[in-house]
């Protein structure tokens, strides 16, 4: 592993919502190893800082695709990076979504949590169902793309609709409680705010989905990416190395901790 960021140039910048963009990054010279769905990169905005960002698509040609929401100083600098800007990238880091032997794939995403799950939507399964939530219709990521996914049943729901919104209004737990699913065949992948994942996991447990087949993506203050600095520690886990993707049996007590 190198501690030195590898230069990548912003090839395209796609505006997703009022505060979120997707950047496609091409290597300036050397490429990083291939990323798996669920893994993340440390992306460095020169002169500002470095933050972890999940991979949000895997085109297979060495391009790195990241969806970035402007929240703090570094994410704002990355969000504002125009095509041609050179950024530093380290990675791939962390654990990936475990997809071996998946029969029915249930993907539940909230807000920016859809980004790390986007690469799994093309994974072969007998049946894939996506339930994605957002604050408003304008905050839903990848809307055009999601409506064109032929092999994925999609339920989009927002907290607050508007006059033009023809999708659902409500929290993701509501369709989750009523969609047809076979608990014996379902593997569930959850990503979003931690309370959302807790509530969704509880709904799934209530429907008979075993905890062992529920995976969540946890995030803390990832910095080194190698499990050395300890900034990302959550209970017994160093999330940059033993996360972000974690099985629910391990994650459940950590999600209930008041302070960690």
């Amino acid at each position: 592993m190198t501690w030195t960021p590898t230069p990548y140039r912003v090839a395209t910048r796609t505006v997703e919502t009022h505060d979120t963009v997707t950047l496609a990054l091409r290597p300036v010279a050397e490429s990083l190893p291939a990323f798996l769905p669920g893994q993340f990169a440390m992306i460095y905005a020169h002169g500002v800082g470095e933050i972890p960002i999940s991979i949000s698509a895997i085109p297979g040609d060495g391009t790195l695709v990241h969806t970035i929401r402007a929240v703090g100083a570094v994410s704002k600098a990355l969000h504002d990076a125009e095509p041609g800007t050179v950024l530093g990238v380290r990675g791939p880091f962390g654990t990936a979504w475990r997809l071996d032997g998946v029969e029915d794939l249930l993907v539940v995403a909230g807000g920016i949590g859809l980004a790390p799950l986007r690469p799994v939507l093309g994974h072969p399964s007998k049946h894939t169902l996506l339930i994605a939530g957002a604050r408003t219709p304008q905050d839903l990521l990848y809307q055009a793309e999601l409506t064109q996914l032929s092999d994925v049943d999609t339920v989009l729901t927002v907290d607050h609709g508007d006059d033009d919104w023809q999708g659902r209004v409500g929290f993701v737990t509501e369709p989750l409680a009523s969609v047809p699913l076979d608990p014996e065949r379902t593997t569930a992948l959850l990503c979003g705010p931690e309370p959302m994942m807790r509530f969704c996991a509880r709904t799934l447990l209530g429907r008979g989905v075993p905890a062992e087949r529920i995976q969540v993506s946890l995030e803390r203050n990832m910095q080194c990416g190698a499990g050395l600095c300890g900034h990302c520690q959550l209970g017994p886990l160093l999330l940059c190395r033993e996360g972000p993707v974690t099985g629910y049996p391990v994650a459940e007590p950590l999600l209930l901790a008041k302070e960690l």
Partner: protein, 153 residues
Amino acid sequence: MTIPMTDLDALPLLMNLSHTQRAALAGVSRIETYEPGTRLFDEGGLADQCWVVLSGCVMIDAAVPPRGRVTLQSIGPGELLGWSWLVPPYRWHFGATVVSPTRAAVVDTGALRQLADDDPALGYQLSLILIDALLNRLQATRIRLLDLYRNPS
């Protein structure tokens, strides 16, 4: 139109009812299909039925001058629409409009109450189903109050 039992047997909502109990429920229900734009009920109207949406989508709304009808909640496949028939004064608190082609089981709630009175075991199971659905709706509404997806900046 009477309800095919296959529709009721497939509903997770009714999974704790026996086939006989589902058949009794079917006896006080009928199938309706609705085109987008159909107004199912208005605030203040008499609440004498409820719906189990089988396919499609219905929006619950409230009139908020001068904003017009503001959507509060959608009801999709497998979900229950309508609670106001449960308690006096049996008037709808909100309104509801169909927004996509919808097929639903429409339950005669007067007949349903009679069924529950005549068969307390069925009545108890129906109560649990209603409480479970209400609890899910209440919890989801509370979670929405958390505004979890807001940008913290």
